[in-house]
Amino acid sequence: MFDAYAVNTLAYNPELCNGCAMCTAVCPHAVFEMNGRKAQLVRPSACMECGACQLNCVTGAIAVESGVGCAAAMIRAALLGQKEAACSCG
């Protein structure tokens, strides 16, 4: 069965991890867990692409194309011919 949420843009390079554990502190969906001195990607499909881990990763070990997962915003952007969907609910 097709699951739209099975894939996302989160990419992690454990070789760059310095073990600061910031990603485990900022992620609201427990996508990362500390395994010894390295962060480990444990629930990749739970990622909602908020971008918090990437922004707070000092070594650049995490990359994700962050954006709003909002159909209403994307439909509005498409109708108005905007490139980037921005949420406007307030």
Partner: protein, 331 residues
């Protein structure tokens, strides 16, 4: 001699309490009803909660009344400073996504408030959901203040402050039945006017049942869907919506055979199919639009859903309406 003191005035510190007044609760109600969405604001700047000393903790929040009030209410009985950022009346998480609850704004506010002269320590406690807009190491580099991410919910702050360590539980964002129910008025306010217009038009063209069908499909998508979300089968919002809309359409389809026993079988079937095709499409579309209100959908996933299901919604909706119209005019 020039008086240096008058050239560098002490930045103002606003007083704050943990007590929420009736006026605050009324303001929260209006905010949740979507009344003047962008105008539930607090003056940005530094606030003194209770009687803080230079050793008291500093909490950072957005200038949305619901955010600020959740924080100060959670800190009941404690003394501390609250640094309110200018997020243009937007809550912490959404403002972080837009970048207004962000690194630059924090740096600017820390200097504007003269925070280094107010407190002895160099620590800021941020809501965890501010993190999508904030690079903690940048703040440290530019202000000397170390960012500490507190829990997701302000209500968990007393628990967090005991050890300054957050359990996995309070680091996870939830989407409880209560959270989802809170969203219903917001969802409903968005669609109420177009729904009424359509219902009136349908009343005079297709009759009371068609009018009720439209209202039912909309209520299913905006009221029932948020409540039933975790229990509806499949992972995609669109398919969940199609299923819920199908269930909502079933009684309408069945009553065709009861209301019009004199019709030929293809007229009955056509009318019934009209409900079964048009109503789920409406509910599914509204369900898909609910993605932005949830706490867990990724942009990649929502985009994949849109490409996969919006064409199906459009086609089934159009087919359903055509079938309904055919039997309005060809009788």
């Amino acid at each position: 001699m020039i008086d240096i003191g008058s050239l560098t005035p002490t930045p103002q510190i606003f007083p704050a309490t943990s007590r929420l007044t009736a006026a605050n609760h009324w303001d929260h109600f209006l905010a949740r009803m979507g009344y003047k969405r962008g105008e539930h604001r607090v003056e940005p700047g530094l606030y003194a909660l209770g009687k803080p000393t230079p050793d008291s903790p500093v909490f950072v929040t957005a200038n949305y009344t619901l955010s600020f009030d959740a924080l100060r209410a959670a800190l009941d009985g404690m003394d501390g400073y609250i640094l309110v950022l200018d997020t243009q009346g937007i809550n912490v998480w959404c403002a972080a996504g837009k970048g207004t609850f962000g690194t630059d704004e924090i740096v600017q506010r820390v200097f504007a408030a003269g925070l280094k002269n107010v407190v002895n320590h160099r620590k800021l406690i941020l809501p965890q959901l501010g993190a999508p807009g904030v690079a903690a190491h940048e703040i440290k580099k530019r202000t000397g203040f170390k960012v500490e991410y507190g829990p997701v919910r302000a209500a968990d702050l007393p628990e967090y402050l005991k050890s300054h360590k957050a359990s996995a539980e309070i680091r996870r964002v939830q989407f409880t039945l209560r959270d989802r129910a809170t969203l219903i008025p917001v969802e409903f306010v968005h669609v109420i006017l177009p729904t009424l217009i359509v219902a009136v038009i349908l009343y005079f063209t297709g009759g009371i049942v068609s009018s009720l069908a439209a209202v039912t499909a909309v209520l299913a998508g905006t009221v029932l869907f948020p409540i039933l979300l975790p229990w509806l089968p499949t992972n995609n919002f669109s398919t969940k919506g199609f299923i819920l809309g199908g269930l909502a359409a079933l009684p309408f389809a069945l009553t065709v055979f009861i209301r019009h026993p004199d019709w030929s079988w293809y007229q009955q079937l056509g009318q019934a199919l009209g409900f079964l095709l048009a109503m789920p499409a409406v509910t599914a579309f509204l369900a898909l639009n609910f993605t932005g209100s949830t706490t867990f959908t990724s942009r990649t996933g929502v985009r994949r859903e849109m490409f996969a299901y919006i064409p199906a919604m459009a086609w089934t909706f159009a087919a359903g309406i055509v079938l309904n119209l055919v039997f309005v005019f060809v009788r």
